[in-house]
Amino acid sequence: MVNEREVKYDEFARFILPVGPVHPALKEPFHLKIIVKREEVLDVELRLGHVHRGIEFLAENRNLIQAIYLTERICGICSHSHTTCFIQALEEVGGLKPPERALYLRTLIFELERAHSHLLLLGIMAYQIGFDTLFMYTWAAREKVLDLFEEITGNRIHHAMNVIGGVRWDLTPKMAEKTIRVMKDIEVTTRRIYDFFRGETVEKRLSGVGLLSQHDAHELCVVGPTARASGLVFDVRKDDPYAAYGDLNDSFSVISKKEGDSYARTEVRILELFELINIVQAALDRLPNGPINLGESPVRLMRRIPRGEAISRVEAPRGELIYFVKTNGGDGLERLKIRTPTLANIISLKKMLIGCEIADVPVIVTSIDPCLSCANRITLVDHETGEVKVVNADELRRKKS
């Protein structure tokens, strides 16, 4: 942590540049206090917590069905990842086994969501380096995926696809056809986007920026594309298969790069787009027939879940997402603990930012694809003494009432 009093203000060229909580380079609020000397970043202090919503606490006051929709609204981009992870834990506690077709459909939506999330990031990356045209082209491709979501699930972002013991909506043959068509489109567009990203002006801005060595990545426990771009080969889809990934194991490979810079992180995402197109096609080819859920009323299913606890993890677009769920045997939750990928990744920002130029700050911040409303936690810092204390659930409850 940077102590303001220690910084020498008398040095002319050195000053504090506040980035955020409101800044055009950051789509979600967090605060970076950057100490710069001319263009060089000397030190960084990260502050989160501007959009803390107390979701874990809220979930404990709701029943399980209500909590599904609450977890869906943690993130506006990887909403399906959150519900899948939560429902997997519930199914583990309740000993429910969703039918095969439901697992395949979950995987399908999961991968489509990854497509839209990665395309979103590529667009924002282009926007951060002032390349508005590439941003528009990328988001035009993303729009097709969103339209597909609207058709399959009835909403562009919050799909409400998962229910306890399966999925809510079936895929009609017409939709499957359209999915394949859109995937072919996306493949062509991604190839073009890849060419643009390999073009000279973009590479100039991205390569060598925000280096994170394999050692540091391992030490800081980063996850997802950020880790894979630093040479760590780790993917929950391969290492601990969930949903239908076990069956689809042969249809994709884990992308990994050695460089560890912003360009590698972008490239990993582009190459993952090609992989996920394969997964979607394989999932559609092998889609088994049969029911899509357990066919019981949701309220009855909810009551069948006994007291117990489970940990579930999925590979969300941004990395490994972990849920710890403890049910109370009624229809509610005793404790919900969420470790989002951004929470794991955001610490690595400090390592990447120190020593870079001001112009690189938005690029580096974007390259880990931060999703901040997922990552906000409360830590109280006493301003006078610098003492840090963490508020526990009981205290929070008392404060609320």
């Binding site: 069905i65 599904i68 009835g154 909506w169 949701p298 309220v299």
Partner: protein, 106 residues
């Protein structure tokens, strides 16, 4: 990139207007989750929808239920919970009004 940009200059814009033609909106897909329609006669008053509504948008009302659309998050859980299919999701999405009291009357 230059060719791509110059080619795009002579292509039709990708933007989709809200009204594709006068009085004609972009078609919404079949499953689109819009405004709730409630069949009061079919309702048996089990109040299960109140228990499962994540937003607390449904309240009991003389052994039946009533909806406050300003709290609705359009998840469609109530229509799934309902044992008699008295609640249906329509694809109507233009529900913007000027005052809060108008929402209640919808």
């Amino acid at each position: 990139m230059i060719w791509e940009a110059l080619k795009s200059l002579f292509k039709k814009p990708l933007t989709v207007q809200y009204l594709t033609k006068p009085d004609e909106k972009v078609p919404v897909p079949e499953r689109y989750r819009g405004k709730i329609s409630y069949n009061r006669d079919a309702c048996i008053g089990c109040l299960l929808c109140i228990r499962t509504c994540p937003a607390g948008a449904i309240t009991a009302d003389e052994r039946k239920v009533s909806f406050s659309l300003d709290r609705c998050i359009f998840c469609g859980q109530c229509s799934e919970t309902c044992p008699r299919k008295a609640i249906e999701i329509t694809s109507k999405f233009e529900i913007v009004v000027y005052t809060k009291s108008e929402i209640a009357s919808q």
